[in-house]
Structure formats: structure tokens, C-alpha cells
Amino acid sequence: MTPARLYTLLGILVAGLFLAALLTGVAAVDPVTALRALMTGGEGPVGIVMREIRLPRALLAAMVGACLGLSGAALQGLLRNPMAEPGVIGISAAAGLGAVLALQTGLAAAYAFALPAAALVGALAGVGAILFLAGAGGGTLALILAGIALSALCSAATALVLNLSPNPFAAQDIVFWMMGSLADVSFTHVLLAAPLMALGAFLLWRTGPGLEALTLGEEAAASMGVNLARLRLSVVLGTAAAVGAATAVAGTVGFVGLVVPHVLRPLVNAHPSRLLPAAALGGAGLVLAADIAVRLVLPGQDLKIGVLLALVGAPVFLHLIWRMRGAA
């Protein structure tokens, strides 16, 4: 399959899922009425449901998924490791801690943009810690162990901060920050996350050629003219921005960056550069599908999207570990 055809197919898939997401919800609205209300604003509550509730939710699902898929593909390219994934190696947890700190200190209430910005700072610290502990040549084991430690630390700190809150519901928020949810997001969230997501995507998008050369290792890539320092910085900043923005509005949505590249890599002949757009589209599709599923499985209840993704993602993770054992 040529890359262009693959991207087209994935694009059609995402468009279809986006439409399905718009038509999924507890309110029974027939598709024609729903789409007309979406276009014209319509009269009464249907227009509000379509424009203020379902549209931002579907948009954000696609954006969050694209960011996570893209980040996973780029991180894997940089670390040359199929298990590098923002959720698995603790970057999402670090971003979540940043976001929770911004919320609980009141910073986010004073400046709305402080929420994604703090998540970005958290994610940046997380990527930095991971690269420091298990960076170039650290190997899979060091990467996974560093990720477990970082996740545990950040999750514990998040739980602590939320437990200190006087609001009795804050402690329940721990579930959201660990499992992620797109329930009842609004255009406020879309606008909050979009600038950083765009920045992250822009930075990651341009790493394709460098990641491609990195297939042969850092020294060979450098000898072929790749500026390693700049490549590393682009991936680190891009991932932090994309994952930070996604986590700030949707909590920790795990496994997207693991599953999507794993499934799509054979379809792009393992090319790290072609994987980037494919993983962005695939990630958007996966999160849209998962968000449709949580609404179909338990309508009216906020089943966390991370629960569903972990059910899909954890077996893929186990499969990768199994394969790594075989290779060793």
C-alpha cells in the first residue's frame, strides 16, 4: 500500500468516526435533525446539544488522539523502542501533576492558559527525567523501569495534592487524572488545548527525516548530517506540548501512542517518518472510537475512556514484552 493511499484510508476512517461520534449520545436525536441542528444552530435544545456538547467532544477526541499517536510515534523513533509511549513511561502522569497543581493553587482560575502551560511544564520535566534516566542507549528495561518510577511518583503526588483539597469531590478527581475522560468537554477546552497541540504537532511533524536516519543509530545519523541535539529538542518539546495539552483537558489517556504505531508500523514498511502522519490519524480514530464505545457501553454514566483503552492497550504491551523476550 502506498503511503498516500494509507493516509487517505485513515482519513476516511477518521471522518467516519467523527460523524459517528457526533451522532452518539444519550439524547435520542435522529441523524437528519442532528446534522441540520449542527449546521444551522436550529431551534431549542438540539442545537445546543450538537454545537456545545457533541461537536467539542468529537473535536477534542480527534485532537487528543492525534497528539498522543503522533507523540508515541516520535518518541519511539527517537528512542528506537516500540514501548516508548507517553502514558507507559510516565510523561502523561507528569503532565497530569502539572495540571492538578495549576488547578489547586488557583493559578488556572486566574489565568486559564496556566492549565495547559503547567501540564506542558510537567510533561517537559517528565520527558527530561526519562531521557536522563534511560536516554540514548539506556535500553528497554531502563526505559520501562524509569517510566514506572516516574508514573508512581507523579500519581502519588497528584493524589496527595487532591486529597489536601477542601472540596470533597477533588479526591474523586484522582480517577479522572489517572483514567482520562472526554465527558462534557466544551469549546473552552478545545480553545485552551489547541494552541499548544498545534505547536507540538508542528515540532513533531518536522522530525520525520531525522527519525528516519536515526534508524541506523545516533552516530550514523549524525554522520549523515542530522543535527541530533535539535532533533532531540524537537521531540522533547513537541511531545511535552502535545501530551501536556491533551492531558490538561482529557486526563491521562494511556496506550494510544503504543497501540497505534504498533498496528500501523507494518503498513508503512516501518518507516519512522511515514509513521508520524499515519499515527496521528490512527490515534484520532482510536480515541474517537473509544469515546463512542464508552457512550454505547454505559450510556449516561461516565465510563472512563482510559479504562477501555487499557483493555485494548495492555495486551499489546504484553505482546511487545513477549516479543522482546523472544528476541533476547
Binding site: 449520545g25 444519550v26 439524547a27 431549542g44 435544545p45 438540539v46 445546543i48 446539544v49 456545545e52 456538547i53 457533541r54 488547578l103 489547586q104 488557583g106 488556572a108 482560575a109 483539597s165 477542601p166 472540596n167 470533597p168 469531590f169 477533588a170 474523586q172 478527581d173 479522572f176 487524572w177 465527558a183 462534557d184 466544551s186 469549546f187 473552552t188 486526563g251 450510556p299 449516561g300 454514566q301 461516565d302
Partner: protein, 291 residues
């Protein structure tokens, strides 16, 4: 709800004897704060609602410790009065060290603590959350009886009933619809104190119309589609929580009906202060029933 008879064992006799000189002082100092000499003299409350009921009724010196929440103006309507009391965190050991002769607790919270205190031989009385005006009035009377303050309790209960009757006014035509909405999209049931407050304010609770007698989760979409005349956003605390972020969703402001904000302290406990909630909600009636 009759208070349990206190068996007059040797301990009780001694307590009675020790309480007598203090009683004279209380009589002289407190005036209306007259306590039954047989009533418990070292009362500890470990529940926000029993805190406030006891604060309302106890004689001076009778109440030893309250929960921390009772002093928090965001949670309690009697925070100022609660400030002069010692606080506890509802843990069995600190409650035990107060040497209480009566512990007041919620029926569904801290059950391990309650079991342990009873095991240690301490008298614990539990109060279920009031689910109606009738239960609210009953719990005032019961608290009065437990504290030996029956007369004061009867006076407060009577005044509450009169004020409630004055506030309730028949609506012209079908009453407007009001929906409560809280963290996670929770809607309080119609067969609850909240439901009665809404009804007393001249609204029909949406929960009754959709059969949510016991309360339940109402997705944002369903709430928007129901398009009630009033959405009552019920917040626990001004501190941020993602679970409550949904109360700020722009779709709610796009609704045609009005929106009112209630904080938990206004109506979570069955206290006479819930009449303020009735009054405030009634002000939101679209038919302008308040003159």
C-alpha cells in the same frame, strides 16, 4: 423518635452528682440555656449535620467538640458559632480521649468509628440525613430530647413549621420545572429534602418528572434536552474539582431557563436554615410569584 432511656447505673449516679454544682452555675449564667441535670454533659459530634443541630440546641458547656467542617464557612451555616469549640477529626481515639458521655454521628458515615466507640462502652446516637421536612422536624425534636433541651427544641421546631407554611404559596397554573445538578452530573432525587425544598419554592423537580425519585446521574445532554426552567447548580465547595467542572459548561448558559447556584452548606443538612434556600429558589420563579 423517643430518646433511649439512660440506665441509671452507678456511673450515671456519679455523673449526676458531679453535674449538680455546675448546673447551678449554668442556671445563673445562661438564662434560657437550661439543661436537664440528667442530660449528657460531655457531648462530642463527629458529623457536620449533627454538629449544627447540636450547636443550635445545646446548653452552654454541654458540647465539647465538633468536626473541623463545622467551623468552615464554606461548609457550615453556623461556622461563627462553632469557632469557640474544640475540633475533632472523627477518629475514635481522639473522640475517646474527650471522655464523652454522648457521641453524635451520621448514620451512614464513620461506621467503623461508631462501632469502635460503642465497643468501648460509649453511648453513640446516629442521625440519618433528613430526607423531608417531616424528618427535619423530627430530628430537631430528637436532638432536643437527647440533650435534655426539649423545650428549646419544640420552640425551634414550631417556628420552623410556621415559617415554612408562610413561604409556601400556591402557584398560578402548572409550576415551572427545576433541576438540580451537581458534580459528575448527579441529580438529587425528588423524594428527598432537596425535592421538598424545590417544591416548597414553587417548582416541580425535574427528577420527579423523569422518575428519579432516589436521585441519579443525568448526562449533560439529557439535561439540555429536558430544558428546565431553572437549573440549580449544586456545589460542594468553591475549591476547584474536575468533577464539578461540568457545572461551568457553556451549554448550561445557552439554555433558555435560569440558573441558580446553591452550595452544599445551604441545604445538605436538615436545619431550619434550609428555609433560606426555599426563599432564594422562589426568587427564581419565572412567573414572578414573589411579590
Amino acid at each position: 423518635m423517643r430518646p433511649r432511656q439512660i440506665p441509671l447505673g452507678r456511673g450515671a449516679c456519679r455523673r449526676l452528682a458531679r453535674g449538680l454544682p455546675g448546673l447551678a452555675a449554668a442556671l445563673w449564667l445562661a438564662g434560657p440555656g437550661l439543661a436537664d441535670p440528667a442530660a449528657p454533659q460531655r457531648v462530642v459530634s463527629i458529623n457536620l449535620c449533627t454538629d449544627q443541630l447540636a450547636l443550635m440546641l445545646a446548653a452552654p458547656g454541654q458540647l465539647r467538640a465538633l468536626t473541623r467542617l463545622a467551623q468552615d464557612p464554606e461548609s457550615s451555616v453556623m461556622a461563627a458559632r462553632a469557632r469557640s469549640y474544640r475540633i475533632n477529626h472523627g477518629r475514635a481515639e481522639e473522640v475517646y480521649l474527650e471522655k464523652p458521655d454522648l457521641v453524635l454521628a451520621g448514620r451512614y458515615t464513620a461506621s467503623a468509628t461508631v462501632t469502635m466507640l460503642r465497643g468501648l462502652g460509649i453511648r453513640v446516637e446516629t442521625f440519618a440525613p433528613a430526607e423531608s421536612f417531616a424528618e427535619l422536624r423530627a430530628s430537631i425534636l430528637r436532638m432536643g430530647a437527647l440533650l435534655g433541651r426539649e423545650a428549646e427544641a419544640a420552640r425551634i421546631e414550631r417556628r420552623f413549621a410556621e415559617n415554612l407554611a408562610r413561604l409556601q404559596r400556591p402557584s398560578r397554573g402548572a409550576p415551572p420545572v427545576a433541576a438540580t445538578w451537581a458534580a459528575h452530573g448527579y441529580m438529587a432525587g425528588s423524594a428527598s429534602l432537596t425535592g421538598e425544598i424545590i417544591t416548597a419554592a414553587g417548582f416541580r423537580p425535574l427528577a420527579r418528572l423523569i422518575g428519579h425519585g432516589a436521585g441519579g446521574f443525568m448526562p449533560l445532554e439529557a439535561l439540555v434536552m429536558a430544558d428546565p426552567d431553572l437549573v440549580i447548580l449544586s456545589r460542594a465547595d468553591p475549591a476547584p474539582a474536575h468533577s464539578e467542572a461540568v457545572l461551568d459548561h457553556p451549554a448550561l448558559t445557552a439554555l433558555t431557563g435560569r440558573a441558580a447556584v446553591m452550595q452544599d452548606r445551604d441545604w445538605i443538612c436538615g436545619l431550619p436554615a434550609v428555609l433560606d434556600a426555599v426563599d432564594r429558589l422562589a426568587a427564581n420563579r419565572p412567573d414572578g410569584a414573589r411579590e
